[in-house]
């Protein structure tokens, strides 16, 4: 709020362009300064002499320069533009010039009128009976309250289904392991040892398995027979040969 504190209260009042109480920081830009100068003409802004206003402004800036005041660039830009406008207004009319100097002067006048109108509107707003300054609300209102009351919804089916869920969820679970046909290791050892006596050459391990249609039992028998073959090999009772990984296993009596 850099501009908020400094700019409102201490706006310099300039009676005329001649009597300078120079503080360019006091204006909010060239348009503000122009408006202040225009008001010193004491006529309706619609009837103001733009040429006179230009003279006032240029004189003001010249004085500021004489006093070696630092002048912000935008004031100098405005001065240059106004000097140009002045020369256009004074020179013989050039019909080719667009926009015409009269139009430029009129635009400047309209801008000043608008700024002036808003400045007055602002002042009138501020002078109104303002809440908290001139008029007051009730300081301690009881306040209105809206109490939200929940109407809970559930029906009987929800209720009994929920109970069913709870009970089902926490019903003690009984796990029954199904009986599966297996060939025990002992059985396989016995069987391989017995059959081995009948085979003299390399024989595939699978040929030791019993004839069966039961895939589960066959798998069990194969696994048990393999372990039995390893056990018998360890005891030096047979040899095992396999040409490659996952290739068929061959056994023969040692």
């Amino acid at each position: 709020m850099d501009e908020s504190d400094s700019l409102f209260e201490d706006t310099p009042q300039v009676g005329s362009a001649d009597r300078l109480t120079l503080d360019l920081d006091g204006w909010e830009g060239p348009l503000d300064l122009l408006l202040t100068l225009a008001r010193s003409q004491k006529v309706d802004l619609a009837k103001i002499s733009i040429l006179a206003l230009v003279e006032q402004y240029l004189a003001f800036i010249a004085d500021a320069k004489k006093l070696k005041l630092e002048i912000a660039a935008d004031y100098l830009v405005m001065a240059a533009w106004l000097a140009y406008l002045k020369s256009c207004l004074l020179l013989p009319k050039d019909p080719e010039q667009d926009p015409s100097p009269e139009e430029l002067a009129l635009r400047l006048q309209l801008r000043l009128q608008r700024l002036s109108a808003m400045r007055e509107a602002g002042a009138r707003l501020m002078a109104r009976d303002r809440l908290g300054r001139d008029v007051f609300l009730r300081a301690a209102p009881e306040g209105l309250r809206v109490v939200r009351k929940s109407l809970w919804q559930a029906d009987l089916y929800d209720l009994i289904a929920a109970y069913g869920n709870v009970r089902a969820r926490n019903e003690p679970a009984v796990h029954v392991v199904g009986r599966r046909p297996v060939m025990t290791l002992d059985e396989a050892l016995h069987r391989v040892e017995r059959l081995l006596g009948l085979r003299l050459e390399w024989t595939r391990l699978e040929s030791f398995l019993p004839e069966t249609q039961d895939g589960e039992y066959r798998k069990s028998a194969l696994a048990s027979s393999f372990v039995a073959a390893l056990e018998l090999a360890k005891r030096g009772r047979l040899e095992i040969d396999q040409e490659a990984a996952f290739a068929p296993l061959f056994v023969r009596a040692a």
Binding site: A168, R169, E171
Partner: protein, 198 residues
């Protein structure tokens, strides 16, 4: 408006006292009012006039312990507190808890949790009590003296039950397929991972 008289010319004193009391943050004594409205104002008379004026209105001027303030007429207090009903579906946790209480009452919170297999939050029981379906039902005479809960008459009325005996038994539930373990397992998964948990 037949019942609203047109503006009457009021004394400055009455207007001033009225405004000062209205804008005051606290009840004011006659002295304090006098400090605001200035010397030479008959504050007491103004207060009496205002008290009479507001006696039948929506707001009254009242004196409490020699201090005065405006307040809403007591018979209109209900207007200041407006209730808005909002229909809300009970959460699954709340329905289950309610069901367990209904089947097992009186039942303590620990027992509810044991049956549910899941902890219940304080809010769940609060909701059920706010709904008027569950009430505290005394303490159980065991170590810790836990509070037990039971259902209310409103509960029976809301669910259309003549008595708790009307609740279907376990066998009925089984027959209705409500004890199907696979569904229950799925429900359990949903409960643990779903957004509806407590």
């Amino acid at each position: 408006m037949p019942d609203e008289p047109g503006p009457e010319p009021l004394s400055d004193a009455v207007r001033a006292v009225e405004a000062v009391l209205f804008a005051a943050a606290e009840p004011l004594g006659a002295d304090e009012i006098g400090e605001h409205v200035g010397q030479g104002v008959d504050v007491k008379a103004a207060l009496a006039a205002l008290e009479a004026h507001y006696a039948g209105r929506g707001i009254n001027l009242v004196e409490r312990a020699k201090r005065w303030h405006f307040q809403t007429a007591p018979d209109l207090a209900n207007l200041l507190r407006r209730e808005r009903d909002e229909s809300r579906k009970l959460s699954r946790a709340a329905v289950e808890t309610l069901a367990i209480i209904a089947y097992h009452e009186p039942v303590s919170r620990a027992e509810i949790e044991a049956i549910r297999g899941v902890q219940i939050s304080k809010g769940t029981l609060d909701v059920l009590m706010e709904a008027g379906w569950v009430r505290p039902a005394g303490r159980r005479e065991v170590p810790g003296r836990p509070l037990t809960y039971a259902t209310t008459a409103d509960f029976l009325a809301h669910f259309g039950l003549a008595s708790r005996r009307d609740l279907p038994g376990i066998d009925d539930l089984k027959a209705a397929g409500l004890l199907d373990p696979i569904d229950a397992a799925m429900e359990q998964l949903v409960l643990e991972t779903g957004p509806e948990g407590e």
